[in-house]
């Protein structure tokens, strides 16, 4: 890629083009197996349709991948998000069961998620433990803590306000869709309209040099894990509200892997550096569309995992540095190097200078 430039990015559209193409293919597959796919109804004051379903069911992974993108941009990884979801769901359920309002429950869940994020951030940034290991601790212990909160059962509740977060609608649109769209926009805006995004990228590219350049990488790292914890908490509340109960064992099970997959499909390197939250969100939608294809086509859901695995492998092979080098060499040693890209790039560079 080109040098990170100050000012407006060259083209967001160009960056997310591959993801848009994959999403279009996935949606086309959906239409191929189910021609009515794009049909959207408005019944009982609520939008109905398969497309709405994709957006709605993709909400937990979309929320998780917002935080995960930032974490991965700092060259980290957060394996604990699934367990944090379980904890947050359990805390929210326990709060409303105790007779508090849904607002209190949401706050309590966010507080729990925030604490989990702070803990991860503390381990990574202050104790300097590598992120896979640091977040593994909470991944192992987290479900135990969640079960401690729910006392080992599936804690059910019937608080209308809380249920609304997962199963309700606002102006006909299911609430989860609005939540992830709003949070995605908020975080994207927060990191791209300020220098935060660039500072995060600097940590991911080379933490030592970023610190020498005067970036307070420690605080920033803690913040990044905090955001991931908060996103996971919100996802956990939505999942719990959707099933009107907190299931400490199964809530968010394996969703950390889906979230990482979404980030990878979004074209973000696991080695840190440049990131795009929009692309990750598209990645989450791609995963959900593929799930939808498998469901609609009547293929046994058993194939879901195999297809996902093959997909992840394919994308990884394309992304791998060795293949990248190979393609680069192939292009460089080609008989006729294309002059066009050079010509097109030069004015941009000059403009940047």
């Amino acid at each position: 890629m080109t040098q990170p430039t100050v000012g407006p990015r060259p083209s967001v559209f160009k960056r997310i083009m591959p993801q848009l193409v994959i999403l279009a293919v996935a949606l086309a597959l959906n239409v191929a197996v189910f021609p009515e796919f794009f049909h959207i109804d408005f019944r009982n004051g609520r939008l109905f349709g398969n497309l709405i379903d994709v957006l709605n069911r993709g909400a937990p992974v979309a929320l998780l991948c917002i935080g995960m993108t930032l974490v991965i941009a700092t060259k980290g990884i957060d394996l604990s998000v699934g367990a944090v979801m379980a904890i947050a769901g359990a805390v929210a359920a326990a709060t409303v069961v105790d007779g508090h309002s849904w607002g209190t429950a949401l706050l309590a869940a966010l507080l729990a998620g925030g604490l989990c994020g702070l803990w991860n951030g503390f381990l990574v940034a202050v104790l300097r433990i590598q992120p896979i290991v640091a977040t593994l601790v909470l991944m192992v212990a987290g479900r135990g803590i969640a079960q401690l909160v729910t006392e080992g059962k599936i804690l059910t509740f019937d608080n209308a306000g809380l249920i609304n977060l997962g199963a309700g609608t606002i102006a006909g649109v299911p609430t989860p869709i609005l939540i992830w769209l709003a949070l995605g926009a908020l975080v994207t805006f927060g990191v791209r309209r300020t220098a935060l995004g660039m500072l995060i990228e600097a940590i991911g590219i080379n933490e030592r040099s970023s610190r020498l350049a005067g970036i307070n990488s420690r605080v920033l790292l803690v913040c990044v894990y905090l955001v991931s914890g908060l996103c996971a908490a919100l996802a956990g509340v939505i999942v719990a509200a959707d099933i009107k109960g907190a299931d400490a064992n199964n809530a968010g099970l394996w969703l950390e892997l889906d979230a990482i997959l979404a980030v990878v499909i979004g074209g973000n390197s696991l080695l840190g550096g440049r990131f795009s939250i929009v692309a990750s969100l598209l990645g989450a939608l791609i995963i959900q569309s593929i799930n939808s294809v498998i469901l609609l086509s009547g293929l046994p859901p058993e194939f879901n995992l195999v297809i996902k695995a093959l997909l992840i492998l394919g994308i990884l092979v394309i992304q791998s540095p060795r293949i990248g080098n190979y393609i680069y060499m192939l292009r460089a040693s080609g008989p006729q190097p294309q002059p066009d890209p050079l010509v097109r790039q030069r004015p941009e560079k000059e403009a940047a200078q």
Partner: protein, 334 residues
Amino acid sequence: MIRSTHLPLLITLATFIVAYALCASAYPAMLSFRVVANLLTDNAFLGIAAVGMTFVILSGGIDLSIGSVIAFTGVFLAVILRDTSLHPLVAFALVLALTTGFGAAMGATIHYLEMPPFIVTLAGMFLARGAAYVLSTESVPITHEFYDMLQGLYWKIDGARFRLIGGLMVLTFLVGIITAHRTRFGQNVYALGGGEQAARLMGVPMASTTIGIYAVSGGLAGLSGIVFSLYTSAGYSLATVGVELDAIAAVVIGGTLLTGGYGFVAGTFFGILIMGLIQTYIVFDGTLSSWWTKIVIGGLLFAFILLQKGLTWAAEKRATRARQRTATGSAALS
């Protein structure tokens, strides 16, 4: 003097002895052979898989696929024995070849495509679990006289039954210890974990070592799957979810450094026993709920990671001080 490289192993050993003493003082019955025998039998499959994980972590990698591979092995064996008339031994050989090949393929992907082991084995985890689903989503019972014969094998002391699978685990650990410390492959694994570039410059065959490590891990996961199918007499595609995390936890509690290059296979054995002990204690207690297992293991994991961090930090500090001393010494000389 105790060498600092042995310190984590000694701490693990001390933890085990203290934990056992505490358990025994609360419940004297825990000192019986029967408890020891059950400790070995119940943790046999986890122990075998953890040996493979130890090699992977010693080399600085990680293998997230083993839980799925164990489940796949179980389902594969159950389906083969149900649908064909193959002898279980042939099926064992078949499934071991399959899982070893699977591990080798992951190792090759990691080496030749230069991808992080974490993400490759994550894909492997999906793939193996998916393959198990495709074979059967229901639990398939295994009924074969050869299985009954194997399950009936035990060595009896004082009414305690040391079963075949427990012995198999101990044997795997012995072979693992010898391989790690007495063979060229073992030395290469340590070298790789100590630093990839240094290992390459030393002439360690990178490709064959990396592929070998993951093949060992895959093969041992297959063996662990066979043991698990002997233990449960069934194959179920949803079984052994999260075993990879238990195995990683056992390796870390056993004193192996997660950054690689440092640790002992024997430590993992005691890591497994400590985890088994926690479970046994909770069973003996009866009032504690099973989720305390997860929390205690998480806490232990954290304590050992902290310990590793402290040791590394102390070693670095010492190295810096030594360097400063030589620097001032040479400055004084000149």
